[in-house]
C-alpha cells in the first residue's frame, strides 16, 4: 500500500471518529447541553471531514460537507439560532454525511436524491430558517465582516490569447513594520521576483532618518525592482500575496523598454540586504532585523492598526473545555502494527501458562510456599499477571465506537415504527478488548431493535397509560466481576407473560402444566423458534429472534438475560468476558483427552457418592444435588470419544449452568485444576466443531480443546429443550 493510500485509510478512520463526535455533540445539544464548545466541536468535525475529503478529491463529499459547514458556521457565529427543530435537521444531515463517507469509502458517491433534499433544507436554514427559499448561489467573492473584498487567488492562470511577451516591469515596494512582524522579508520578496526573470534592484533609502532619530524597529527602506520577463501583472502580484496590506506596492510596465544589461551578473540580493542592514545601528542577523511594535513612521503610508504588530494573548482563545479522550490518546502516540500486539498478547498468554506449570512442578518437588523458591514464584506470578494486564490494556478500547453507531439506528427504527424514542447511553468509555469490541455491535443492535419494536408502546398507548409519550431506551456499559456488562433497558410495556407462556406451550417448548417463575417465563423468549411479534415487522422480524442473539452472545463466552416488570419496561443484561484472548478454565481429563471447561460456566465440582446417581431410562441419569435432580452429561460419550459411560461415582462431576438446558452435571474422569489458557481459534485453519468453543495449547505443547458447555448440554438432549430451573441471575 503506498503512503497516500495509507493516509486514505487513516482518513476514513478519522471520519468515523469525527462522525461519532458530530453525532454525540448534536445529541448533547438536543438533550439541552448549552456548552458553546459543543457547537465549535461539531463545526470542526464537519470541517475536518471536508478538509480531508478535499485532499483526496472526493468532490461529492466535499460539496455536501461544505453546505453543512456553512450552516454550522452560521450557528457558531450566532447568525442562525440553534433551535430544537434545527438540531433535528442537523442530526439528519449528519446521517447523510455519514452516508457520503461510507459511499466514498467504497469509491462511490452518496445518494443524490437524499443529498439534494438535505442540501435544500440546510440552505434554507442558512438563509434564515426553514421554509424559506434557498438563497441564490453565493458569489465566490463576498465581503467579510470588515467589508474588505478579496479576490480569489487563482493558482493556475488562464493562457491569454496575446501571450505575454518579454517586457520590462517596474516594481516598487515599501514594506511596513507589520510585514516584518509576520516574518515576511523584503529579501525573500526580491528572491521571488528574481525567479520570474532578469532583475535589477535598487535600494531606496530616502526615508532613512538621521542617525539620532532612527527607530531600530521601523521599516525605512523601499525597493525598486526592474524585472524583465514574460509574465503578467497577476504573476507579479502573486509574489506580494501574503503582504498586500503590509507593503505599498506599485507595478507598472515600462512604456519604452530600455533593455536591461544583457551581460553582467544578476543582482546580489545578499549584498543589497547587507547594505540595508548596515544602516541599522546594531548588527542584526541577516534577513531578520529585530522588530517591536511601532506606530507607522511614514505619514504618507496608511497607519498600521495598533493591534496588529505584537499580539496579546486573548483570554478567549484558551478554551476551558476538556479535550475529547480520543484526542488525548492521539498525543504522543506511536503506531504499532496490530499484529505485533496480538503476537505479544499470545506470548504473554503462553508465559502465564508456563508460569503456572512451573509453579505446579515446583510444588510437586516439595518446596514449601514459604521457601525462597516459593516466594520467588509468587513474585513471578504477580509480575506475570501485571505484564498480562498491561499488555491487554494496550489493546483495550472504549465501547464508544460501538455506542456511537446506535443513535442513528434508534432514529431509523423510531422512524419506521412511528414511535417517539430517546436513547440514553452510559459508560461509553468502558474499555474492553478489541476482540470483544468487534463482535458486540450485532447483539446490541438486535437488543435495541427489539426494545423499540416490541418493548416500547406507541405514543398514544403511552399517553393512555399515563406515561410520557416519548419512550426511553437506555444503553449502558459497565465492568462487573471481571466481565463487561452491557444493559439495554426500555420503559415500555414489559413482557406479556401469559402470552409468552401460551406461545411456548403452543410451540411445544414447555409442558402445558410447567411450573415456571416469572423470570423463567421472561427467559423463554430466548428459546429457538420463539418470536413474540404477531406480525412480522420490518424491524425485529426477518427471523432474527432473541434466540439468534443469544447464540451469538454465547459464541463470545457471554450470557444474556432479561428482567421485566409489567407496564414498566424490560432490561436485557449481556455479560461478556473482557477479552476473547484468554480464558480461565478447569482442565479435565475425559477418555484420555485433556479438555478445558470455561470457569464461568462451572458452579461447583463434586465427587458424588454412588447413592446420589440415579439411572433414568437406558442411558440417561440424574444426580441428586441437595434438593434437585440434575441431568448427567457424559462428556466423552456426547463428543463421541468413547461409547462406554463413566460411572459418575468413579469420576468427577462438574455442575454447570447452561443457558439452553439449565443446570447439568458434566461427568469427567479427573480434574487437573484451574488454569488460565490462551484461546486459539479452530476456525482460522479449520471450522467450527460441535460442542467445542475453541482450542488452546498446553504447557507441554499439545493442543487441548475448550468445551462449549451450552452446545454440549444441548447435544446431550434428545427431547425438546426444557427449562429446569433458573439458570440466569436477575439483572441488577
Amino acid at each position: 500500500m503506498d503512503e497516500l493510500e495509507e493516509i486514505k485509510v487513516t482518513f476514513f478512520q478519522e471520519c468515523d471518529e469525527l462522525l461519532g463526535d458530530l453525532e454525540s455533540g448534536l445529541l448533547s445539544i438536543d438533550a439541552g447541553d448549552t456548552e458553546p464548545e459543543l457547537v465549535n466541536a461539531i463545526f470542526r468535525a464537519v470541517h475536518s471531514v471536508k478538509g480531508g475529503a478535499g485532499a483526496f478529491g472526493l468532490e461529492a463529499l466535499v460539496r455536501f460537507a461544505h453546505v453543512f459547514e456553512t450552516l454550522l458556521d452560521n450557528v457558531r457565529s450566532g447568525k442562525t439560532p440553534l433551535e430544537s427543530d434545527l438540531v433535528k435537521v442537523l442530526l439528519r444531515a449528519a446521517d447523510v454525511l455519514a452516508d457520503h463517507v461510507a459511499a466514498a469509502k467504497l469509491g462511490g458517491e452518496g445518494d443524490a436524491a437524499a443529498t439534494t433534499a438535505m442540501v435544500e433544507e440546510l440552505e434554507a436554514w442558512t438563509s434564515g430558517g426553514p421554509g424559506l427559499a434557498p438563497p441564490a448561489l453565493q458569489a465566490d467573492v463576498q465581503p467579510n465582516e470588515d467589508g474588505i473584498v478579496f479576490k480569489p487567488v487563482t493558482l493556475t492562470l488562464p493562457e491569454f490569447e496575446d501571450a505575454p511577451k518579454e517586457q520590462v516591469w517596474i516594481i516598487t515596494f515599501q514594506p511596513m513594520d507589520a510585514l516584518y512582524a509576520r516574518a515576511n522579508e523584503a529579501g525573500l520578496l526580491i528572491r521571488e521576483i528574481e525567479r520570474l526573470g532578469k532583475v535589477e534592484v535598487e535600494l531606496l533609502d530616502d526615508a532613512l532618518p538621521v542617525f539620532d532619530n532612527l527607530e531600530p524597529e521601523t521599516a525605512y527602506f523601499a525597493w525598486k525592482v526592474r524585472l524583465k520577463a514574460d509574465v503578467t501583472e497577476e504573476k507579479i502580484r502573486e509574489v506580494f500575496e501574503f503582504v498586500e496590506d503590509h507593503c505599498s506596492t506599485t507595478i507598472v510596465r515600462e512604456t519604452s523598454p530600455t533593455a536591461l544589461a544583457e551581460t553582467g551578473p544578476g543582482p546580489d540580493i545578499a549584498a543589497i540586504l547587507a547594505a540595508a542592514q548596515a544602516a541599522y545601528p546594531e548588527a542584526s542577523p541577516p534577513l531578520t532585523p529585530p522588530r517591536i511594535e511601532t506606530v507607522a513612521a511614514e505619514p504618507d503610508l496608511p497607519a498600521e492598526p495598533a493591534t496588529s504588530a505584537v499580539a496579546v494573548a486573548q483570554p478567549t482563545s484558551l478554551r476551558a473545555s476538556p479535550a475529547p479522550p480520543a484526542e488525548k490518546a492521539n498525543q504522543a502516540t506511536i503506531r504499532v502494527d496490530p499484529e505485533r500486539i496480538d503476537k505479544l498478547i499470545d506470548l504473554v498468554g503462553e508465559l502465564v501458562i508456563n508460569q503456572a506449570m512451573l509453579a505446579q512442578r515446583v510444588a510437586g518437588h516439595g518446596f514449601a510456599a514459604s521457601s525462597d523458591v516459593g516466594r520467588g514464584l509468587d513474585e513471578l506470578e504477580q509480575l506475570t499477571r501485571d505484564i498480562q494486564d498491561s499488555v491487554m490494556a494496550i489493546r483495550a478500547q472504549p465501547v464508544k465506537s460501538v455506542f456511537q453507531r446506535m443513535p442513528r439506528l434508534v432514529r431509523e427504527i423510531a422512524g419506521l415504527t412511528g414511535k417517539q424514542v430517546r436513547l440514553v447511553t452510559d459508560g461509553e468509555n468502558t474499555e474492553v478488548d478489541k476482540t470483544v469490541i468487534e463482535r458486540i455491535s450485532e447483539p446490541i443492535t438486535h437488543m435495541l431493535r427489539n426494545a423499540i419494536d416490541h418493548g416500547l408502546e406507541t405514543a398514544e398507548d403511552r399517553a393512555a397509560a399515563g406515561k410520557p409519550s416519548e419512550g426511553t431506551v437506555r444503553l449502558a456499559a459497565l465492568h462487573r466481576g471481571g466481565r463487561i456488562v452491557i444493559e439495554v433497558g426500555d420503559d415500555g410495556r414489559g413482557i406479556n407473560r401469559p402470552r409468552v407462556r401460551q406461545i411456548a406451550i403452543d410451540r411445544g417448548l414447555i409442558a402445558a402444566d410447567a411450573q415456571l417463575t416469572d423470570e423463567e417465563v421472561d427467559n423463554l423468549i430466548f428459546l429457538p423458534g420463539f418470536s413474540t411479534a404477531s406480525q412480522v415487522s420490518d424491524i425485529s422480524g426477518r427471523g432474527v429472534g432473541m434466540d439468534v442473539v443469544r447464540k451469538s452472545v454465547q459464541g463470545l463466552g457471554g450470557r444474556i438475560s432479561i428482567s421485566s416488570r409489567p407496564g414498566l419496561g424490560s432490561n436485557f443484561t449481556l455479560s461478556l468476558p473482557l477479552t476473547l484472548a484468554v480464558l480461565d478454565g478447569m482442565v479435565i481429563d475425559v477418555a484420555g483427552q485433556t479438555l478445558v471447561v470455561p470457569l464461568t460456566a462451572i458452579v461447583e465440582s463434586l465427587r458424588p457418592a454412588a447413592s446420589e446417581v440415579k439411572k433414568l431410562g437406558v442411558q440417561g441419569g440424574v444426580l441428586a444435588v441437595r434438593d434437585a435432580y440434575v441431568p448427567l452429561v457424559d462428556i466423552g460419550r456426547v463428543l463421541g470419544f468413547q461409547s462406554a459411560e463413566i460411572n459418575p461415582a468413579e469420576g468427577v462431576v462438574l455442575l454447570v449452568d447452561s443457558e439452553v438446558g439449565g443446570r447439568a452435571a458434566l461427568v469427567a474422569d479427573s480434574i487437573h485444576g484451574q488454569r488460565q489458557v490462551v484461546i486459539k481459534s479452530l476456525e482460522s485453519n479449520y471450522q467450527q466443531v460441535p460442542g467445542i468453543a475453541a482450542a488452546t495449547i498446553l504447557g507441554d505443547g499439545r493442543v487441548a480443546l475448550i468445551l462449549d458447555v451450552d452446545a454440549l448440554v444441548a447435544m446431550s438432549k434428545r427431547e425438546p429443550l426444557r427449562m429446569h430451573e433458573p439458570s440466569i441471575q436477575a439483572a441488577e
Binding site: G555, G640, K680, V689, I692, L705
Partner: protein, 155 residues
C-alpha cells in the same frame, strides 16, 4: 503501461511428490509451507474420520487430514516415517498426513494430462491431473477441494 501479461505456458512448474496408500501424488511446491514429522494429534469430536485432529504449529492450531483416507484409500497407520505436509489453501493451513515424501518434480505444463473418467468419485473430485514420468504415474492433488464443506465460514 498496457503490457500484455507474460505468458506462463512455457514456464516449468515444480511439484512436491509423496506416497499415500501405495500411490504417488503431488502438490504444487508453491502451496507447500513446510514438511514435518508426525506427532500425535488431538482428535476433534464429531468430525469426519479422515480428520485426524489438530496439532500445535508454532502457536497456531493446525488441522491434520489423512490424505489416503480422504481419497477413499485404507487409512494411514502413522509411523515414525510418516510426514505431515503443511499446505496453504486460501487463507488456511492444513496438514496432510502421508507415508513419505518422494521427489521434487520439475515438469512442463503440457506433461499434465486431464484425469480420465475412472469409476472412483474421490479420484475425480480431488485429482487435478496426471503426470507421467518414465514409468511412474503421479496424480496432482487439487488441495483446495480437500477440506470438508466449510460451514460457518462467514462467522
Amino acid at each position: 503501461m498496457n503490457q500484455p501479461a507474460i505468458t506462463v505456458a512455457n514456464e516449468r512448474r515444480e511439484l512436491t511428490s509423496f506416497w499415500a496408500g501405495d500411490q504417488e501424488y503431488c502438490v504444487d511446491i508453491m502451496s507447500v509451507r513446510e514438511i514435518r514429522g508426525w506427532s500425535a494429534a488431538t482428535p476433534l469430536p464429531q468430525s469426519p474420520s479422515y480428520m485426524r485432529g489438530v496439532i500445535n504449529l508454532r502457536g497456531a492450531v493446525l488441522p491434520i487430514m489423512d490424505l489416503a483416507e480422504r481419497l477413499d484409500l485404507p487409512p494411514t497407520e502413522p509411523s515414525e516415517r510418516s510426514v505431515i505436509i503443511v499446505v496453504q489453501v486460501g487463507e488456511r493451513l492444513v496438514g496432510l498426513l502421508v507415508d513419505a515424501v518422494s521427489d521434487i518434480l520439475s515438469i512442463n505444463p503440457e506433461q499434465i494430462q486431464p484425469t480420465p473418467d475412472v469409476g472412483c468419485d474421490q479420484a475425480k473430485a480431488f485429482v487435478r491431473g496426471l503426470i507421467t514420468i518414465d514409468d511412474r504415474m503421479v496424480s496432482e492433488i487439487a488441495v483446495e477441494r480437500l477440506l470438508p464443506e466449510l460451514e460457518g465460514l462467514a462467522a
